[in-house]
Point group: C2
Chain length 123, copies 2
């Protein structure tokens, strides 16, 4: 355990070899898990500065302000970091569906014994 990083009060993100940390977004009101994405240092800084979630798109290899094109921004209500500082928890108020498929949450399918089953909107 890295005592200072794991228990201290200095922000010192542990970026991976691609310069990224994991970002987990939940709905600030319902608590539902909305999406999992990644942030580089710039995305984290912009998220802190603007109060709107920014990520690094691995598929597009570019900075990504969530909702930039869809309008479905994520307004940050709380931002936390985990023990080893390689993941952040964004509690957000979503302006629309978080998922590119149009679903409210990206986690709209359950893993069952025989494969996946859709989860209804009430979850």
């Amino acid at each position: 355990m890295d005592e200072a990083r794991d228990k201290g009060l200095a922000l010192n993100p542990k970026y991976d070899r691609d310069g990224l940390i994991t970002a987990v977004v939940t709905d600030a009101d319902s608590g539902e898990l909305l999406m999992v994405a990644h942030m580089n240092a710039k995305a984290l800084q912009l998220t802190r500065d603007t109060g709107l979630a920014h990520f690094w798109s691995r598929s597009r290899q570019s900075l990504w302000k969530k909702g930039e094109t869809s309008g479905h921004m994520l307004k940050v209500r709380d931002l936390r970091i985990d023990c080893d500082q390689d993941a952040v928890w964004v509690k957000a108020v979503p302006a629309g569906p978080a998922c590119h498929t149009g679903a409210r949450s990206c986690f709209f399918r359950r893993i069952g014994p025989e494969g996946l089953t859709p989860v209804d909107a009430a979850g």
Copy 2:
């Protein structure tokens, strides 16, 4: 978008170059985000087969049954996968603190303007 993977009902995890997907664990009752870890195919299979969360430890490079030494197992109540199938959501009943620091959740610090601040247990 990979239509079949993103919207279909076949389990087809998109493992990264290390053979891993991200695993997000929330408390099945409180909804609190407890931890973020990783699973390889074997860990996912064991999680499904046993109903107890298994991960791949990147630091130890070994399969890791959560609670194996601490006794703080995570009993899986629901298991979901996201749109592009590179992250799973484990809703679990924790047998004890999820964090190696002894905290209930790994996300016990808030990112504020000046650094980190501890979040009290009531969160």
